[in-house]
Symmetry: C2
Subunit: 478 residues, 2 copies
C-alpha cells in the first residue's frame, strides 16, 4: 500500500479504509486505554493522530516512538474521537525507520528560542514554525515565477560570478582558484590575477541588473531570480551575506509603468500566499500574537492576515522624494527633534524617516520617486531638472525598502558621463554602454529582496529565520 | 495608445485598427512603391512587417531605420499582401528610440558564426537563434517549477557559499574577502582563514544535495534549482564553471520511486516545451537541418521534434550496471576493439560506452542502476551484495548522462563508515550525519544539469550557447 501525504489524508472521508502514513513523531501520549501518536510529514502544519489500543503495538516498538522518530504507520482511517481533527488512524502496525534518542535529540516538545534553533539549522525545518516558513517561502517563489510567466516575461539566468560591479560600490566576495598562501605575482609584486581561473579578478554578483538589461533590450521583458551577495560586515536582523533577489527589467517601460508593475507584482504574490498558505499563515499569526502578548496594546503588530489583506486591498501611496522631505519637515517628530538624523533635501532617508512616512503618516505602503541623483546609482535616468533621477523605492511597514528600482538612463552620452563622474572605468562596462549605442530604448526595472518579502509575509523579525541556511559574518554552517 | 507585443499583434484580426508596436529592426527593404520594415521585440521568433508608402516617413527618419535600430511604429493593422504573415502594419508614424550605425553594429542581416556571437554575448540575445534558445530555456525553467509545485514538492534554496563539499572531491572556487596580496597568517605561516568573512575557508557549492536532504527529512519532498560551480579546467562543449542544477530529494522514496520520478519529470518538461515553444522549436529544427545539410545522411540528427516526441512517448530502458557491462562485452565495437577504453566490470563507463548503449543498442533513453560502490559517491545506499550501490544515471542520446541520482544511505553506522573510508573528516559533516541519528528515513534524490536539458531540447551542440553568459576557463565577460 502506498503512502498518502498527511495533507491529503486529513482531507479524506474516514470509512475504515486502510491507509499508510509516514512521518516524524511530534508527540506521543499514553493513557490507560490507548497510545496517541501525532505524526507530521512536512506536507502541512497539521499532524495526523494515530491511536493504538493496548497490546496492538509491542512495548519494544512503542518505546522507540519518541519525539523525532520516523515511522511508518499502517491502519484504518476512522472518524476522530478527539476534538481538533476529523480523522485519525487506528493503528494496525508501526514500523520504526529511525529512532531519536530523547536524551540526545534536541527538538523536544517544548518551546525553543529562535537563537537556539539557528544553531541546529539542519533540524529546524522539522519544527512547526520553520516548516510553515519554508512552505510559505516556496509558495511565494512559485508565485513569482507564475506572475512573470503569465505576464510574458522570460526568466533570465544572469551570471553569479562576474568581473563587473553593478553598483560601482558594494563590498564583494572574491572568487578564486589561486593558491591563497602563495599566489603568483606580477613583476611589480601584485597578485597576478591573469593566472586565475577566469584570467582576471572575479567576484560574486551583487545584482543581475546590468545583464538583465541586456536581456530586456532583446526580449523586451525579462526577470531574474537568483542569489546575490554582499560582503558587508553587518550583524543585523535585516542583512544577509547571501540572499535571493528578483529583478525584472522591461524595455519600453517608463517610471509610471515600472511603479504599476511593482505594485501589481507584490500584491499578486502576497495574495497568492493568502490563498494558498492559509493554515501556515494562521499558525504564524497565532505565534506572533503569543510572542507579543506581553507588549502594551499599542506596540503590538496588526494580526498577520489583516496586515497582508490591507496591503493587497489598498493602492500604494505615490509621492516624490521632494514631497516626502516636505512632509517630514512638517512632522511632529522633526519639530520635536525626535528624529535621530536631521531632515533636509538631499539626505538619504533613514529608516526612522521611512517608517514615519509609511507607518504614521500614510499608514500604507509608499512609493517614493525622483530622488537626488547624488544618493542613487549611476544608471538611473536623469530628470530634466538635472538634479533628480527617475528612481523609485517601495517602502513597506515594518520592513522599510522592499523594492528599489528606476527608469534607466538610455542616452549613451549621459550614461557615459555618469560612469566617468563616479570613477568607473568605461572599459569595464563596454558591453553595457554599447546597448545605448545600438538600438537603445527607454527601459526600466527594479529589484526585490526575496527574504524581505518572506519576512513581511511570515511576520518574522530576523532575516536569518526566513532563509534555510543563512550566511552572515563568521557563519557558513551547514 | 499602448504598445502591443508582436506575439499578440500577429494573432489579431486585421481591421484597420490603430496599433503601436515597439521593437528592433531586423531588416529594411525599399522598393519603388514602398518601404518594408521587419520589426522584432523578442516576444516571438516572428517579426511583424510594417509598410510605408513613399513620403509617409521622412527620409531622415528612414535613414535611421537600419538593422538593430529600435523603433516605435504606429499605424493600422491590415491584412498582409505578402506571403508568410496574415497581418502587417500600414505605417502612420515612426519614432526612432535608438539608431544602430550600420558601420559599427555587429549584427548585420547575414549568418554569424556561433563563435563570433559568443564574443558579443551582450547582443546575441537579439538574434533569432539565441532569442529562441532563451525563450525555450525560460519555458523549461517554468515547467520545472510547475512540475514540482503540482506534485507537492517545496522549492528549497540551499546555500551557494558553503564550507562543505558534497562529493568529497570536486575542484572548488574559494570565496574570500581576505587581502589576496597580503592575507593574515597563523603562527606557522599558513593563511589564517579564521579571519576571513565566514571565520573559515569557504567555497562555492558543487551541489545542494546534502542540504537538500535536510529539507527532505523534514518536509518530505523538496527540490532545489540554483547555480552550482566546478573549478575544473575543462574547455569542452559539455562543461561550464557555473551552471544550474535541479536537485529533488524525497523522504520515503526508494530507488524505483526515484527512477519513476526522474522519468516522469523529464518527460513532463520536454512535453511542456513541445506544447509551448512550437515556433521556436520549428525554427531550431530548420536551423539544425541547415547546419547538417552537408553531412552524409547517416550522420544527420533526427529532426528535433521527432527526437523530442520519441523521448516523451516511450518508456526509458532500465538495466543494471552489470547488465550494461555484459551487453558491452558482447558488442561489436568491443569485439572489434573499436572502443578506445577497455570494458570490464568495475570501470566507470565512458561516453563511448554510454552512447553505444543509448544510441545503438537500445535506441532510447536508458536508466542504469546499481553501480560499483568504488566509482560512486559515499552517500549512496549500499546494496546487500556489499559491492554495488543504489545509484541511477539517466543517459540521453547525444548528451550522455543527463541525470545522476541514488537512494541515499540512511544507516548512520554505514554512512559514517563510508565517510571515514574515503577520508572525509566526519566533524565537517556532523549535521549531515546527525540526520541519520535522529529519525532517519529511507530517501532518494537526483540531480539534473539544466544546461544539458536545454542542449537536448534545442538541439544545440555547445553548452556555452544555451546559457546567457557562460563562465569557463579564462572567461567571465559580461
Amino acid at each position: 500500500m502506498s503512502r498518502i501525504q498527511i495533507k491529503d489524508l486529513l482531507k479524506l472521508e474516514p470509512s475504515e479504509q486502510s491507509v499508510t502514513a509516514k512521518g516524524w513523531v511530534r508527540t506521543k501520549r499514553e493513557s490507560k486505554n490507548a497510545v496517541f501518536i501525532s505524526l507530521n510529514d512536512g506536507s502541512t502544519i497539521h499532524n495526523i493522530q494515530a491511536v493504538a489500543e493496548p497490546g496492538q503495538v509491542s512495548e519494544e516498538i512503542l518505546r522507540l516512538c519518541t519525539t523525532g522518530a520516523c515511522l511508518r504507520i499502517d491502519g484504518a482511517l476512522v472518524p476522530s474521537q478527539g476534538s481538533g481533527q476529523a480523522v485519525e488512524i487506528r493503528i494496525a502496525r508501526v514500523e520504526v525507520y529511525g529512532a531519536a534518542d530523547p536524551e540526545e535529540y534536541p527538538l523536544q516538545p517544548k518551546k525553543h528560542s529562535l537563537e537556539f534553533l539557528r544553531e541546529i539549522g539542519h533540524l529546524r525545518p522539522r519544527t512547526n514554525t520553520f516548516s510553515a516558513i519554508l512552505r510559505i517561502r516556496h509558495a511565494l517563489a512559485f508565485a513569482v515565477h507564475k506572475f512573470y510567466n503569465d505576464n510574458g516575461f522570460f526568466y533570465l539566468h544572469t551570471p553569479i560570478i562576474t568581473a563587473s560591479d553593478a553598483e560601482g560600490a558594494g563590498e564583494m566576495f572574491r572568487v578564486s582558484t589561486l593558491d591563497a598562501s602563495n599566489p603568483p605575482r606580477t613583476e611589480d609584486g601584485r597578485v597576478d590575477f591573469s593566472q586565475d581561473f577566469f584570467g582576471r579578478e572575479a567576484n560574486l554578483t551583487v545584482s543581475g541588473q546590468l545583464e538583465g538589461e541586456l536581456g530586456a533590450l532583446a526580449l523586451s521583458k525579462i526577470y531574474t531570480f537568483g542569489p546575490t551577495f554582499r560582503a558587508e560586515n553587518s550583524n543585523t536582523t535585516r542583512h544577509l551575506a547571501e540572499f535571493w533577489m528578483i529583478e525584472p527589467e522591461m524595455a519600453f517601460f517608463e517610471l509610471e509603468d515600472n511603479m504599476d508593475l511593482a505594485e501589481q507584482f507584490v500584491k499578486y504574490v502576497i495574495g497568492y500566499a493568502l490563498e494558498h498558505c492559509k493554515d501556515d499563515l494562521d499558525f504564524l499569526e497565532k505565534r506572533l500574537q503569543e510572542e507579543e502578548k506581553n507588549k502594551p496594546q499599542n506596540e503590538r503588530s496588526l494580526p498577520l492576515s489583516e496586515k497582508l489583506n490591507f496591503v493587497v486591498g489598498n493602492p500604494f501611496e505615490r509621492i516624490t522624494y521632494t514631497e516626502a522631505v516636505e512632509i517630514l519637515l512638517k512632522s511632529k517628530p522633526h519639530k520635536e527633534k525626535k528624529f535621530q538624523f536631521p531632515v533636509e533635501w538631499g539626505i538619504d532617508l533613514q529608516s526612522e524617516h521611512e517608517r514615519y512616512l509609511v507607518e504614521k503618516h500614510f499608514k500604507k505602503p509608499v512609493i517614493l520617486t525622483n530622488y537626488p541623483k547624488e544618493i542613487k546609482s549611476f544608471y538611473m535616468k536623469l530628470n530634466e531638472d538635472g538634479k533628480t533621477v527617475r528612481a523609485m523605492d517601495v517602502l513597506f511597514p515594518g520592513i522599510g525598502e522592499i523594492i528599489g528600482g528606476s527608469q534607466r538612463e538610455e542616452n549613451y552620452e549621459k550614461l557615459l558621463g555618469r560612469v566617468n563622474e563616479i570613477g568607473i572605468d568605461p572599459e569595464n562596462l563596454w558591453w553595457f554602454l554599447e546597448t545605448r549605442k545600438f538600438g537603445t530604448a527607454p527601459h526600466s526595472g527594479f529589484g526585490l529582496g526575496f527574504e524581505r518579502l518572506v519576512l513581511f509575509v511570515t511576520g518574522m523579525t530576523n532575516i536569518r529565520d526566513v532563509i534555510p541556511f543563512p550566511r552572515y559574518p563568521k557563519s557558513a554552517e551547514f
